[in-house]
Structure formats: structure tokens, C-alpha cells
């Protein structure tokens, strides 16, 4: 049975920096939604992402229609940011007064910041900005939680857990478990399931 969506299409942007597992996160979330009976389109911008660039996946969810792999400007319903600066970058392009935002607060500094030419906004400024631009915003320490689980990359799964926890999409832990168990060996699935549960609880 297919659940219902707040909108058709429901538009999700997952963003981060190359190497954060952005593509896998969008793939897992979309896989869950396809199994839940929806038509999903993922559009991915990952040209040279492994070399420190911004990465962005657009996920369009619909009961019946295949939508374009690019969300129209100002058209995001949910933004999932694996990196805080990227949350603001995506808001600038796809934000609107009713957008919801989930942010992993661990920064990854751009080269310009590393070399001292540019400045990275403070955590305080980032929170204020996102809160001002979003209808609802949740700030998570997904990377810290993932490090506790033994692998920082699991931050992406913590964030997917948080998406489920928000309750805006008809997906749950059972569906996640199916996807993960089919996709990887049992030992690795355990850490993923734990990461998911942490994210889910963090927004509950």
C-alpha cells in the first residue's frame, strides 16, 4: 500500500561535499520510496565531486509521474544537508517559505578557507540564517554520532534516519532495513541500522 505525500511531486535536495556519501544517501532514500510504491527521479550533480566540490542530488517523488531530474528554482520541500555551508548554498537556489531543512553541523572547509583567503561562517550564524529561511529547521551532530559508531561516513545514514523521523514521507525503519539488508553484508548492515535509529531519535 502506498502512503500519501504532502505534495506531488514532493521535492527533496540532499547536499554535501564529495566523499560524504551523498550519492549513497539519495540512492537509499529513493530506493525506499520506490519500494513504497512511488515514482522517483533522482538528478545528480557529481561531476568532479571527489575532488572537494559541492554535490547535490535532487529527488522528485510522485504517485504517478516521472518528473524532471532538476527541481525548479525555489522548489524544494525538504533539504537534507550533510554539510552546513551547503545547506545555505542550496537554500539560496531552491529555498522557499515552506521548506524544511535538516542540517549536519560538521563543517568541511573549502580550500579558500583552508588557505586563509575566505572565512567560514560561525555555527551561530549558520543556525540563524537557516532558521530565518526555513519553515522548520533541525540541526544534528550526525558526523559526531557516526564517529562514535566507528565511521564518519555513516553520517549520511544518520541523516536518512532523521528524514524518516520527521514523518514527512511514508517511510519507516522496516523499509530501510529491507533496503540495507539486500544491499550489503550483515556485519555492515548492523552499523547502518544503528545510524538510522540515532537519526530517527534525534528529531523525534
Amino acid at each position: 500500500m502506498r502512503g500519501t505525500l504532502a505534495k506531488d511531486p514532493y521535492n527533496i535536495v540532499i547536499t554535501g561535499v564529495g566523499g560524504q556519501g551523498n550519492v549513497m544517501a539519495s540512492r537509499v532514500l529513493s530506493d525506499m520510496l520506490v519500494r513504497a510504491g512511488f515514482k522517483v527521479t533522482i538528478g545528480e550533480t557529481f561531476g568532479m565531486s571527489q575532488r572537494g566540490g559541492s554535490v547535490m542530488s535532487h529527488i522528485r517523488v510522485s504517485p504517478e509521474t516521472v518528473w524532471s531530474p532538476q527541481i525548479p528554482k525555489g522548489g524544494a520541500d525538504l533539504i537534507v544537508a550533510l554539510e552546513p555551508l551547503e545547506a545555505i548554498r542550496v537554500l539560496a537556489g531552491y529555498g522557499n517559505p515552506s521548506v524544511k531543512v535538516l542540517v549536519n553541523m560538521r563543517p568541511i572547509y573549502p580550500v579558500g578557507v583552508i588557505t586563509g583567503e575566505d572565512q567560514y561562517p560561525s555555527a551561530e550564524t549558520i543556525r540563524k540564517t537557516i532558521t530565518a529561511l526555513a519553515a522548520a529547521a533541525r540541526f544534528l551532530a550526525a558526523t559526531d554520532e557516526a564517529v562514535k559508531l566507528g565511521n564518519p561516513i555513516l553520517g549520511n545514514i544518520v541523516m536518512i534516519g532523521a528524514v524518516a523521523g520527521l514523518g514527512v514521507l511514508p517511510i519507516d525503519r522496516g523499509l530501510f532495513e529491507t533496503v540495507i539488508r539486500e544491499g550489503m553484508p550483515a556485519e555492515r548492515a548492523v552499523a547502518n541500522l544503528r545510524a538510522f535509529a540515532i537519526g530517527e531519535a534525534a528529531v523525534a
Binding site: V40, I42, Q70, G95
Partner: protein, 656 residues
Amino acid sequence: MNNKPGEDGMSVNGSRKEGAEVLLMGNEAIARGALEAGVRVAAGYPGTPSSEIIETLSRFSETGKLYVEWSTNEKVAMEVAAAASFAGLRSLCVMKQNGVNVASDFLLHLTGSGTRGGMVLVTCDDPGALSSVNEGESRHFARLMEIPLIEPADFGEAKEMTRWAFELSEEIRNVVMVRSVTRMSHASGNVVPGPLPVLKGKAEFICDGPVSDVERGPVISAPVIQKHRLQQEKLRRAVALFETSPFNAYAGPDKPELLIITSSACALYSREAVALLGAEGRAGILKLGTTWPLPPALLKRHLLMAEKVLIVEEVLPFLEDQVKILAAEQAREIGIKTFYGKNDGTLPMVGELNPDLVAEAVGRILGISPPALPAAYREKLQEFAAMVTKREQTFCPGCPHRASFWIIREALQRDRRRGFVCGDIGCYAMAALFQAAGFHTAKTLHAMGSGTGIASGFGKLGPFGMEQPVIAVCGDSTFYHAAIPALINAVHQKADITFIALDNSGTAMTGFQPHPGIAVNAMGETAPRVEIGALCSAMGAPVVCEDPFDLVRTRETLNRLLESPGVKVLILKQSCALSPEKKGKKQFLVQVDEALCRGEDCGCNRLCTRIFRCPGLLWNRERKKAEIDEVICAGCGFCTGICPAGAILSEEAAKS
């Protein structure tokens, strides 16, 4: 690129069973279509956004029913696939847009000779050059080579059309071209996998008939006039099939004010644009799957419906030109139309399209404004957008290319003759694309292998007064692909160049596909290695091999080579920082000794962070000192050599 699904050990749905709807990437859907068609041989050369097609197929090669290879270049890939077709098997060749240029000489002759087993050419274009150094348009090749062209517009179609392309190829006994774009190939959506066929038929090249017998004779493009005529007859057969193809579909009112004609990802943008404007009652969309040759009767039926026609496509106005030709031919029956598209500036001539650009264009024609955000919100966005600093792309921490270009920079500075580097295609192209990444040394960047050919030309300008030393850089995969003829030329013509092979043991840029220098092939079998050094020696060039992480020694070698005449080959060997044997393992533990770091007072003007720019070495604004970020540093140890004060220290990491 390495960021593909399947990374992190997630299984790729391309292997999932038939029946249920699954999520597939466009490239996986194309691969699945080929599998469902019973493809037996698949060959390609890696290039974003096409690489995942061959990668997906290679995962099926274990069954022994499918042969998959990464060929040395696209022309060879096409030749390998053609041989299978000549032997009666279904075959696939895959490349990115500019790869078709490389293969085109063979393609011209192949389409003249015709094929036997179904043979499909998949090209993936990159509108907007998201990961290319050109905005090449491959569709013109279909016209140039007189072969049918089809373009999928969603993921299910990507699979279905690829499958059908093999049937069409067998029907007309010629190559069929399937064109995808980045936003199809790298996007994902629902696909219903169909059954995989039972593979039958053995490979046999039947060639005992006369030249005139296309089924049993030799496969050649001569007698040319006769074969050319036959080729055009085949094309007419394809057009007849296109007239009733289910891949062409109209949706919209019977008498729309505006008819939108579109294909590929642009069909999705057009649909979205019409929905954004709420113009479903005023605009109709004719989505074409068979885009060359256009089926004239189908076009006529639809052109009759509306006075205004907008053509939405990427990259060049290919469809637009063809539609206009048909409209001119049919003017008497369909009347005068007003055309909108790229030629009149309704849509941009360069860059990729998206739903917003199409909505603006449709809105302008119909007099509707696209929905806008509230003004107050827009102002807030603008105010905050300023804090979003750019994310510059650069070499990975521990990348051997950063070290190589640092050495080149130092050697050229010492040399003092204003020498420069001719760049080439691979990760190291970043040295030319983002000047800071290559320390402003790389000054030309064109096609695969062109750096060496251009250097060969520069190397002959001495008699005209050119005194600058010339360096060509070339990655290992690029070397096999196209640099060899250029290097032979340079040797034979006695050009004065220093050729540097940046050998990082893999096609790092596109995700570590094997190449002839590596002892493994696309199917994971061990394979003989073809050594770059041995090849260069055989050409008669002196060959020196150095480690780019050994700054002083390699720089001295390079300075010596720059002094001597003729072609000199320097192989800088060090594997990619992301290669499986290196990833996550540090060779050195590196630290900045704060007492030794002179900070802002150092005469080097922060050489370490401002110029060297390894993401692992950062500038601490508060303390005004350099420091190592232990999480990001890959432990290559190279930066210890760049600090004039000797403040960056390293010790060998314990082997785990």
C-alpha cells in the same frame, strides 16, 4: 568519477531480478536494455557521463556469456564491437560525446559496409560541460554517417529503447545510435527489468560469398556507390518504422496554441515547464524518441495542429533544423509557422537547459509569468547568499599530481626561460582548468593526447626564435589512448620537448577503470601489462623514471632534461591517493612545528597554504601559523619539502 552508486559496497539494482519496479540509474537502464537484448560483446572507453554502462555490464561478465572490455580508445572499442557483429553476435560500444569524434573515421566506413549481428552505439553527451572540456553534440554524427538515431526521455525508455535498438540494427543491417545526456545517464528512476534471454548462436564470420552478397560476402564499404545507395535504402526503412514508433508521443490539447517539439531530458523539462505555468490547456508536447531521420508524416500531423512551434533540445539546434526542413518541404499543406528555439534566441544556444529556462521561454511565448517567490523572501535570500563562499575544486590531499606540478613549477622557475606545460585530459587537467591547482604552469588543454601533439609543434619553433622550454604532461590512460602517435611524431621530427607521463596507475578521473598499463582487465581477469617506459624506449627517446614525492631529486632530473635537445621522457610514478591500496592509509605522520613556522613573517608569503593549497595543510587564522588537519591529510609527506623554514616535519607511520 568514483562517486557512483555501488561505492560503499551497495549492490546496484542493475542486477536485480525481473518483474518488480526498481530504481536504476540511466546508464544502468541502458546496460539492462543491452542485457535483455542478449548483447554478447560490449566495449568502450571511460568518459563521464558514460562509464557506468560498461561497468554495469562488466559485473555480468562472470557468467562467461558476455565479453566486456575497456578498449584503449573509442575507435578501437567500436572496431572490437564491429567484429562481434560481423561474426553474427549482438554488440554494444559506448563512449562520451567527443569519443565519437575519435571513432568517427571507422564509423564512416562501418556504416558503409553495414553490420550483421545487431550493433548499437551509445553516446552520452554532456550539455553544460558538467564534466567535460567541450560541449560537443554527437547527434550530428547520425546524420553525417547516415544511421538512425534514437533518444530516450526517461529511465524505462532508456532500457526499452536500447533493447529495441538491437532489433532495428538487425532489421536494417547497420549501426543504430542511442544518444543519452548527463541528466539521463546520471539520473535515476523507476524501471521494470524484463527477462534476460537464453543466449544462443555461436560466433562465426561467414565470408565465403561474393562482394555483392552482404550476408555472406566480405564486409567492406566498396563498391562505394552501390553500398552507399544500399545504406540510404536502409535508412528509409528505419524512417518507415519510426512513423509508428511508440517512442514518439503527443500529449496535450487537440488544437494547442503552442506545439513543443522535444526529446531526451528536455521532454521532462518541457512537461515540468508547462505544469509550472499551468498551461496544460494551451501547450501540447510532441516528445520524439526517434530523432533522425525524422518521420515526415508524423511531423506533418502534429505541425498541422498549431501555428506556433517551440523546439526544446540540448546542445545545438539539431532537431530545430530538421523540423524546419520538413516544414519547408510541407509548407503547402501545413501553412506558415512561427518557430521558436535556439536559433531565434528563445532558448540559450549554450549551456544545459532546466525546467526554469524552458518555463521562461514558454511563458514568454504564451504571455504567462512563471511563479515567483514572495519579494520579502527573495530579499532575505540575497542577503544571506553572500556568506556562501565558493568550493574550489582541487587535487585530493596526497595527490601525486600536486607534487608533480609543484616540481614542474620549481624547475621552470629555476630554468628561467619562461617554459610552460601543454596539458591533457584526466584529473591533472585541473592544472589548466583551475590555475591555482597547477600553480599556473599548464597553459593549453584540448583533446585526449593533444598536449603531446601541440608540444611536438611548439618543439619545432626554435628556428623561429622560440626559446621557451616545452613540457607535455600526459596521464597513463591518456598515453595509450592518443598520445603515442604524437610522441612518435615528436621523436621522428626531432622536436625539443620534455614529455612527462603522470603515471598514477589507473583511470583515476572516471573511477579507476583498468587500462593497458595495469595487470587486470575490465572483467577482473589478469592481463599482460604494456609498459609506458618500454614503449618510449622503443621509440628511441631517453627515459627517466622518478618519484614525484621525491622533490629535490625529481626537480634536479627535470632541470637536466629541460637543458637537453630532442624528446626526453620523464615518467613520474606514484599511484593516485584514492587508489584502493592507498585510500585511508598514511605513509607519514606529518606535523607543523609551531616554533619553526614563521607564520606571516616568513619571507615565503605563506607558500605552504596560499600557493601549495593541499587541503590537508591549513592556515590557522587565530594563531597565524600553518597546521596539518590530521583528518584530511593523506600522509604523503611531500609538503615537508616545500617549507623554506623546514617547519613541516614527518615521521614514518607505523604499518598496520
